[in-house]
């Protein structure tokens, strides 16, 4: 910019601001039933696409690939395979204190993977822990003592 606008002795002004809105996210009927199954029956349910026959987990109203409504509700196994993961090792605002593990698990019977925390992993050595989880280990669903109808009602632990 030209000097006419930017004399050297002008102090650059920074105006403080914030953007802190509250929301309520409407889960809709399908996710509400999924959460009710977690809370009332401590089980994870999927919905099946009548066209491609995939069992979608967590439950979806429609198959995103075929764009048709799913046709049935089915429970999946309590165990599954840890497909991909990461060990979050640095602190971020609004997140749990590090280190913690998150990953996508394909539960037995499901055709898609579901994200959640992976607990019970020895994280004293991050690199060793990372390498040990690369083998796509088997995991088990563990429900919290207190359930409230949220995705955090359960997590996964290595078998």
């Amino acid at each position: 910019m030209k000097d006419v606008h930017m004399p050297n002795d002008v102090e650059l002004i920074t105006i403080p601001g914030n953007w802190n809105f509250d929301y309520r996210y409407f889960a809709g009927e399908t996710a509400s039933r999924f959460f009710a199954e977690l809370k009332n029956s401590r089980r994870i349910m999927g919905t099946r696409c009548g066209k491609c026959r995939r069992l979608l987990v967590p439950a979806r109203t429609f198959c995103e690939a075929c764009y048709v409504e799913t046709v049935s509700w089915e429970p999946v196994g309590e165990e599954g395979t840890l497909e991909v993961f990461t060990i979050v090792a640095a602190a971020f605002p609004g997140m749990p204190p590090p280190p913690f593990v998150i990953g996508y698990v394909t539960l037995d019977g499901a055709d898609t993977s579901i994200a959640n925390f992976i607990k019970g992993v020895d994280l004293s050595d991050i690199h060793a822990a990372g390498k040990s989880l690369l083998s796509r280990p088997r995991v088990r669903t563990v429900f919290s003592a207190e359930v409230q109808g949220r995705i955090t009602d359960f997590h996964f632990e290595l078998i």
Partner: protein, 387 residues
Amino acid sequence: MSRRAAVVGVGQTQYRRRHSGRNTAELVREAVTAALTDAQMDLDAIGLVVGGVAPDALAGIDHVDMGSIARPGIPYFRVNTGGATGSSAFLAGLTWIAAGRCDAVLVVAVERMGHAVTAPKVFNSIFDPIYERDISLSTLSMVALRATMMIQKYGYTLEQWAHLAARNSELSLLNDTLESPRRFSAGDVLSSGVISWPIHKLEIGPVSEGACAMVIAAENRVGSRPAAWIRGASGLSDTYEMGSRISRAEGALVDVVTLRRCAAQAYRDAGVVDPAKEVDMVEIHAACASSESMGYAPLGICAPADGPRFLDSIVDGTARIAVNPSAGAQAANPVSATAMIRIAECALQIRGRAGRRQVDGIRLAVATGQGGATQFSTAVVLGAEPS
């Protein structure tokens, strides 16, 4: 494409952590003016402006583009596909020329994330609030999740990514759009600390502000202007749900099916049969070294199983193709603009205007864009000749 078109102007501000000396409109105008000057065109010649701004919340202004990009008297719309915003804006602008609605389009993308005191918190609000946000997913952990699959499936190592990051940091010293390039060694990367295993701190592109603008002209307006001809341009979307993309029949999560398919389409349009032999240069949009390597095979510049070896050939300088001569998004990653910058860098190289980072003999170049945790992919093929 129904009408031939070319990039005839490129304008970029410097990319830096904070542009505290410019408001957003000033930043945009700087890039726009530079692009018009490069194109030897007046703003009156422009028939459409397409703006690219990713989440408003990064800038903390709920209408960043309305206050900074729209110019009275010219049609305008905005595009947002996350990290692919800049290249998606380019594709959108191109459609107007292809359809004959106008002869010259200005595309401009601006990133204002320096406003955000806690930018990661804004990034993490992109995730599904119903099923996923409570799991503390982040844009970084999305990269890390894919990286673990690349180790599992193709045998990449953390050391290889560290060497790639160091190689890119070396290149960044030649890029005059970067205010403060960071040079570091592979050892520095490996000792910089793990942010989200297997990703190290220094592997990740820095917080960056800046604006990029380009002028696209129909063939009848190119004249004697130095031109980078748009030989192919394609964009594809995928499902948001990462859990649905882990292991599909058409390809695993890290095989980036959308990128593979839109690259194939762009090559078909460009008449490229064997990209590994014909393409001179690629600009892969990737904020981390691991995600850069995820782009090689979908672009057809190496076979999927050869990815790690191809990475080594880039690091040791024996690769035939120039990969990210700008140093890529690992050197500067102004999210809204970053995918447009990849196209701009290809255009500069083809037009012989890349300054100290100019590579000799670039006649065919490919730029990619990736947005929304690889939900959106774009591929643009530029050439020195119209066909």
